[in-house]
Amino acid sequence: MKKIFPAAFSYLLPFALVFISGCNSVQKKDFTEQDVALEWAKMTLYITQYTPANSPTFASRGFGYIGLTMYEAVVNGYDPYQSMAGQLNGLENLPKPVPEKSYHWPLSLNAAQASILKNIYLQTSDENKMSIDSLERVIKNYFSDKLNDDARVVRSIAYGKAVAEAVFEWSKTDDGHRGYLNNFDKQAEYPDRPGSWQPPLFAQSFSHYPLHPHWGKNRTFLKQNSELPMPQMIPYDTLPDSPYYMEFLKVYEKDMALTPEEKEAAIWWGDDPDVTFTPPGHSYYLATMAIEKANPPLIKCAEVYAKTGMATADAFINCWKWKYHFFSERPNTFIPQYIDKEWESFWPDPPFPAFPSGHAIQAAAAATVLEDSFGKSFHFTDKAHEGRERDEVRDTDFVIRSFDSFWEAAQETADSRFYGGIHTPLDNKVGLEEGTKIARNIIALHWEKEDQL
């Protein structure tokens, strides 16, 4: 993981803090505008990974608000781009810059990101909050020194903070605020019928309760996304020639014949929230990679993060709504009962129902956004888990992956859950389809003024 946090990591070390605050000359030589966006994305990924009890659901929400805040902190400086205020679910107004006054937008972005990150991740450690402050200070000092216009600096920072606080206030009413305090509802009653989800025996989590059962009721960023029709699930059946049985038989047969490459994909996309930046973090990471490679203007960077964050956040809300509607079993429940009693999935079960796949839906959402921003053909190498210690349990290394398109990566994300033995092909297929729809709605927002024409 180290590779993706080159600069952010240096702020974490206490001696570096002293060094930086005591002697400005050792800062990074030059921050481009894009660097500011990238540094904050990397810090966001770091906080996501190193905050305990994080979950893919809560993390996706964080990326949504943090990405949006980045966009809103700068959008008024970049005509013809326009604010999302008035376009999102219940977000009517956001602070506007004072006309005729000049702003330094990277400074606004810097202040806004520090503020929203600390507010969304209220529960992160004091050390992590110090890292956020430290990054904010380094970037602020760099640009303030160059500007030599105190009033403009103060104004820009104040504006950024005001935007972040407004977004945070709005976020509090979505039912996901401080959601980490309610990861599991121990009082809730769950369906118990043939084919219903059972607590995993080969588990990623010690909880025998399913994660965030009410997450699907949270407010989506986009109203249209909450109105998408329910996807179709095939009926439960235990007869060996039934479509239902065949879904699980495919998982079983694949698992019995996994190639080394498939095992590598299975562990690469695992993105276990206990040890990594979670699956939506992987999407935010891919956005970061694309930005680093394409180096678009700052507003475009912010737009990509806003779209990726909101698309994956809405994907998780819908996915959880459907997961708890169908409350469907995992292969680890069906296969030992009807196919092979000793069978166990390659990858341990996450603590929530199967249909549709959360990995697939959010990967498709992110890929759809990134294709729209950077084109269908885009070669990149994913180094998210480069250098991670070999997975001894599964006798498999973390091997970096190259793709020629974002969709290729999304497809592998979905497939990897099939290889891991925790999702059926149908879980993945529906996940990819629905994630695409969700992202298209996000893309269809009026990001630029002429969009309204």
């Binding site: 009890a53 529960q123 305090l181 010690f206 025998h208 429940t333 009962q337």
Partner: protein, 568 residues
């Protein structure tokens, strides 16, 4: 849980059978007639409980302390006539009502001749805490069937932990029993005042265990790191055991979620050096499982202790290959391999045929529970056959800790299994069961150690019985064998048709040996530790001088030989 549909079906069949004709089984459920009325109540999730077997009043009949979780624990005094009475109210243990108790073990902590009691906890019962943590409890036995809470006096009140399995051992062979305590979630120091979100979200992180060294019976000192223990995991406790037959107690640590957090550990004691070294990997004991408990026993009577590790789905039988060689899991090959969620396990020669059978306690994970029967693996020529239903021990309660002891001193081992109260609807009863062994026809021998320098009951020592070509070894159980529990400290041997044991060999902790020859079968042999004779200085000096001269001679001779040119 429909995974267990097949098991459930078997269960229904057995229920049907039992209503049609009363079964004559080798084990008889005597819970009710013995006066045992117990059920463990979970705090939340699936943790607890266990029992310890200990003769609290030294009357020769072993008594029981059983944890009850959120409800009142029980202290069953053995009346000696097959019945028990709960003397908890008058025992001075009332403070345990304030705690969610988990496991229990007993040893003579202060060497006054009476068994003391250590109880692990995960929370207080007053509902005041958002994050469950509490101190563990130590009670000294007053010798009059009452106990005194000495948790603070023994410096154990500073550990605000979520503790699971405790075990007594004697890592430094000083005769004062030390403790290992497994912790599941990280400890919080001091009391938790105003809780920040950051504290709440970090609550479920992995924990170190405790290695509490008994400082001459006065207090305990946590020397976990000082002894070189290093792991942090989801701990279910550990077992002190001399796996390499070198006379000191090594440590086998059980970890839940070994495939995700840290695996099981095997630490080799470097006694007399005060340290352990981690040899888990080299010995293939770094099991990445949901290890709930372990039973120790030499199932094939080859002189090497083997370990049965309980797990979710399938258990492991780690077969000892001898010093320096990795263990091999032979559970499937040998037949001790059946689908369940297992917790307690006990090796014992239930049928007195001179090999160790295996009892396994099974139970689902509250609150989603499907019944699963307990296992009884009968040992025949070092292979196992599951006969839980046939022998009458396949209770379908939500099993956790299990202990074996001779409840009525008739020479065979009976079983007590602690069952949890189901949180939701459950098709059968789930209360703690006492199963009296009426099976064995063969002869037996029981050996009770009386330590003088060693722990009072010989915890940490081992007994070997040789009958003809067969040698059987037992370690004196300090707890941690099974799950959250401790069985009898009296070593028990089935002798088959033999009317005598050719020899009984005790290896006291630290390596001192004591041998008795030609001991009659069907008796309880009480074996006091022989005191070390004070060495006479006038005898020692000439011996040392002579020894020194001899060594000098051989060294000189060896040097000369080394100096000779090689012929090759």
């Amino acid at each position: 849980m429909r995974l267990f549909g097949h098991t459930l079906f078997l269960f229904c069949v057995s229920l049907l059978n039992s209503t049609v004709m009363p079964a004559q089984t080798p084990f008889t459920d005597v819970t009710v007639e013995a006066g045992i009325a117990h059920q463990f109540s979970v705090y939340e999730g699936t943790f607890g409980g266990g029992a310890t077997v200990f003769d609290l009043n030294n009357d020769g009949f072993e008594d029981l302390f059983i944890t009850s979780g959120t409800t009142e624990d029980v202290l069953y005094l053995n009346n000696g006539d097959g019945t028990f009475q709960n003397i908890y109210d008058t025992s001075g243990l009332a403070v345990t009502r304030d705690y969610v108790t988990q496991g229990a073990v007993s040893a003579d902590v202060n060497k006054d001749g009476w068994r003391d009691l250590f109880i692990t906890t995960i929370n207080t019962t007053d509902g005041s805490q958002i994050i469950p943590r509490a101190k563990n409890l130590l009670f000294l036995n007053n010798g009059d069937m009452t106990f005194k809470d000495v948790t603070g006096a023994y410096k154990l009140d500073e550990f605000n932990s979520f503790s699971t399995g405790p075990s007594f051992g004697d890592v430094n062979a000083d005769g004062y029993p030390d403790l290992y305590v497994g912790n599941y979630f990280l400890e919080f120091e001091g009391t938790l005042g105003v809780l920040k979100d950051a504290t709440i979200v970090s609550a479920n992180q992995t924990a170190k265990g405790y290695l509490l060294i008994n400082e001459k019976g006065n207090y305990f000192e946590n020397d976990y790191e000082a002894y070189g223990l290093h792991h942090r995991g989801f701990g279910f406790g550990a077992l002190f055991t001399d796996f390499d037959n070198d006379g000191d107690q090594d440590l086998l640590v059980n970890q839940d979620f070994g495939y995700k957090a840290v695996p099981n550990f095997l630490y080799e004691n470097q006694y007399p050096k005060r340290s352990f070294i981690d040899i888990s990997k080299a010995m293939a004991m770094d099991l990445k499982e949901n290890a709930m408990g372990s039973a120790v026993g030499d199932y094939d009577n080859n002189g090497l202790l083997d370990y049965y590790v309980t797990n979710i789905k399938f258990n492991l039988l780690m077969d000892n290959q001898g010093r320096g060689k990795p263990f091999i899991d032979r559970a499937k090959e040998l037949g001790a391999y059946s689908f369940a969620i297992s917790w307690g396990a006990n090796f014992a020669d239930f049928d007195h045929d001179m090999d160790l059978d295996l009892y396994v306690s099974n139970g689902d994970l509250n609150p989603n529970c499907t019944p699963m029967g307990n296992f009884y693996y009968e040992n025949t020529d070092a292979t196992f056959t599951e006969k839980g239903r046939i022998v009458g021990v396949n209770d379908y309660g939500i099993g956790r800790g299990s202990v074996v002891f001779d409840m009525e001193n008739d020479g065979d081992l009976d079983i007590l299994v602690v069952n949890q109260k189901p949180v939701r609807d459950y098709p059968v009863g789930s209360t703690t069961r006492l199963l009296r062994n009426d099976a064995p026809k063969g002869n037996w021998l029981k050996v009770a150690l009386k330590g003088i320098e060693a722990e009072t009951n010989g915890i940490g020592s081992r007994v070997k019985v040789v009958v003809g070509a067969t040698q059987m070894i037992r370690e004196i159980d300090g707890g941690g064998s099974s799950h959250l529990s401790q069985s009898s400290v009296i070593a028990h041997f089935g002798l088959g048709k033999a009317t005598k044991a050719d020899s009984v060999i005790v290896t006291w902790i630290g390596g001192k040996k004591q041998i008795l020859l030609d001991q009659n079968a069907n008796q309880l042999l009480t074996l006091p530790e022989l005191e070390d004779k004070k060495l006479n200085i006038w005898m020692v000096v000439p011996i040392l001088l002579l020894g020194g001269l001899m060594i000098g001679y051989f060294v000189l001779k060896g040097r000369k030989r080394n100096r000779a040119p090689s012929r090759f």
